[in-house]
């Protein structure tokens, strides 16, 4: 009986130690994960705002005006044939 009790106490002791170590390591890992995901959320949120603003910028009238000026897509690009009929008359 005494040897059984001894054995059980040892088992219990080792089990408690191992459980303690496991919980400690697991909590550190969980903290690391929480920290990682917190940073990820922050990064994604910042990235999201950046992309959203990029879309707003590309969708803006200001950008359209700058592209129109760059591509010379303005009233001057309208056909002038109606004002100047030499092309029609040359037929």
């Amino acid at each position: 009986m005494t040897s059984i009790n001894k054995f059980l106490f040892w088992i219990l002791g080792v089990a408690l130690i191992l459980t303690n170590v496991y919980v400690f390591i697991h909590s550190i890992n969980s903290s690391n994960k929480i920290n990682f995901y917190e940073q990820q959320i922050k990064t994604l949120h910042t990235e999201n705002i950046k992309l959203e603003n990029k879309v707003f910028g590309l969708d803006s009238l200001r950008y359209a005006a700058s592209m129109a000026a760059k591509l010379n897509f303005n009233q001057e690009a309208q056909p002038v044939f109606l004002d100047n009929l030499i092309y029609a008359r040359s037929q």
């Binding site: 909590s27 903290s31 910042t46 603003n53």
Partner: protein, 551 residues
């Protein structure tokens, strides 16, 4: 007892002691766990966004960073200041003044972009850090500078809206900060068994305006062209839906850059459309005509004998060109903008009723438009009015009003007589709640019948006016020119005028009303030669934009 048993007993006793202590700390006396590991962090809310009536963004947020320093952790302040200033370029003396060596934490600069943050991080300086925040971003740049206002700081360094929508709706836009209380270890990682409390921030409410971004762009580009062509000092254009008084566009020049508002002097921030007073001149005449028709002091088919100048006390009132046509109709008085004709109308209406109608049209108080900074010039008590004052007010001089007051009053002439409150925000959104703002009626100064008469007169004023404008063909457009001299130190300067035109289309069922004001145009002082052509340029664009078919 064997050595093993003694060792085991000691071990279990120690283990029991730890458990009991933890029980005391965490269960019986939980507040005692507020140790140095507890970090409290404010979570800043995002300021509400502002959209136009079609859901297109006018103001949104972008991430920005606040650069802070911990002076006690900086070994070499001179080196630190030199390195930081090589990136920030705000002056070494400014940085030196901020770096108080007795303080643990000082803010050096706010609203830094990510590029600047990376450059500073690359310097690898000790005692430096960043906190995240938000800054306003305007996708359309300064398209609506006066309308929107800007976001600055208050004395506590918190964001505060100034002028326009940002100022008026600051409480809705600012939101509520959240808080995060968390036990963290030395590396900043959360201690799971410790305190973890989070109160989420409440982001600011989003605003949806009545403004149409495309119409705002049309108005601003035309105004810019107009100021250049007519060499005017400043100008304003207000475009509204006269049936509801939703403001579709509101632009004044010169304006300012909202992202760099701090580089402009304060005089640029005030919105002239709501904060500057001007004498409306002949654009005021239809209001007095409508009042006289409503009171049956005159009839629409009456005639007036325009013989010559009119004397009021020691003053002589003439027409703008000193030409008199003899027997003219009420409509012709408006067409040729006859000052003497209007004096006659005012006298028929009577001083008391004329004064009452000024109040009925809302000139004695602010319109209540939802923009910060509106002013009004309260009417002097009737006891302080002289006969000449009644005479001049009938043709829009001797009274000072704001452009938005003019739009409000004039709308009532063409929408069946309803005096409506102008407004800019039509919807306020928060998570789970949408609040809609509708048109508000303030009164009915005139009847629908009178409104019809006035619309016909204003159509006639455009069709048979002194100048033939480049009107869009096939459309019925009504309107009135105005040229008012600017009073300077109690006298009118004949060389300085405020040229204006207020018009609407289509006459039968007006879809838009536009007021164009140009201050001190140099090419010509007359509204008919400056503001009117500018109005018709805008009208052409709006008729196409709204797909309005010719009559």
């Amino acid at each position: 007892m064997t050595k093993t048993r003694i060792f085991l007993l000691i071990f279990f006793t120690l283990y029991l002691a730890v458990i009991v202590k933890l029980f005391f700390i965490q269960i019986l006396n939980p507040r005692g766990s507020d140790t140095a590991y507890l970090t409290t962090r404010k979570i800043y809310p995002e300021r509400g966004k502002i959209f136009d009536r079609n859901g297109l963004p006018l103001v949104v947020n972008k991430t920005s960073f606040l650069l802070y320093a911990e002076p006690k952790k900086i070994p070499d302040h001179e080196y630190f200041i030199n390195k930081i200033d090589s990136v920030l370029h705000i002056g070494e003396s400014t940085l030196e003044a901020k770096l108080d060596k007795t303080k643990d934490w000082v803010s050096l600069k706010t609203n830094l972009s990510e590029d600047i943050k990376e450059k500073i991080l690359d310097l690898k300086l000790p005692g430096v850090g960043f906190t995240d925040g938000f800054q306003r971003y305007y996708p359309e740049s300064s398209l609506s500078a006066h309308l929107l206002g800007f976001v600055g700081k208050n004395t506590r360094g918190e964001d505060l809206g100034y002028f326009g929508i940002e100022g008026y709706y600051n409480k809705d836009l600012v939101g509520l900060p959240g808080i995060l209380k968390s036990d963290r270890d030395l590396l900043g990682k959360p201690i799971l068994m410790g305190t973890q409390q989070k109160l989420n921030p409440e982001n600011g409410r989003d605003l949806y305006l009545t403004i149409d971004k495309s119409i705002q762009e049309i108005a601003k580009s035309k105004l810019r062209e107009g100021l250049e062509i007519y060499d005017a000092k400043e100008g304003c254009i207000i475009i509204a839906n006269p049936q509801t008084l939703e403001v579709l566009a509101l632009v004044c020049l010169p304006d300012f850059d909202q992202e760099r508002y701090f580089t402009f002097s304060e005089e640029f921030f005030k919105d002239p459309a709501i904060s500057n007073l001007y004498e409306p001149g002949s654009t005021f005449k239809p209001l007095i005509m409508a009042a006289a028709l409503e009171e049956k002091s005159i009839k629409a088919d009456d005639f007036y004998n325009e013989k010559g100048p009119v004397k009021i006390g020691e003053y002589t009132i003439k027409t703008w060109n000193d030409k008199y046509e003899g027997r003219i109709s009420m409509s012709r008085i408006i067409e040729k903008s006859s000052n003497v004709g209007m004096v006659h109308i005012g006298q028929k209406l009577g001083n008391i009723k004329l004064y009452t109608y000024l109040k009925k049209f809302g000139f004695d108080q602010i319109t209540g438009i939802d923009l910060q900074g509106e002013v009004t010039d309260k009417l002097r008590p009737r006891s302080n009015w002289y006969p000449i004052d009644y005479a001049t007010v009938s043709f829009g001089q001797g009274i000072a009003i704001t452009p938005v007051q003019m739009v409000m009053a004039f709308s009532s002439l063409i929408n069946g007589g309803k005096l409506l409150k102008p407004y800019i925000v039509q919807q306020i959104n928060s998570p789970g709640e949408e609040k809609f703002i509708k048109s508000e009626m303030l009164g009915t100064p005139i009847s629908e019948k009178t409104s019809d008469y006035i619309k016909k007169m204003l159509l006639s004023a455009v069709e048979n006016g002194e100048l033939k404008w480049a009107k869009p063909k096939g459309y019925k457009i009504g309107g009135k020119t105005g040229t008012a001299q600017i009073p300077i130190k109690g006298h009118y300067d004949p060389s300085k005028t405020v040229a204006s035109f207020i018009g609407f289309a289509p006459v039968d069922n007006p879809k838009f009303l536009a007021l164009v004001i140009l201050r001190e145009p140099q090419s010509s002082p007359w509204g008919s030669e400056t503001a009117a052509p500018l109005f018709f340029e805008i009208a052409k664009e709006l008729l196409v934009y709204y797909n309005i078919a010719p009559d």
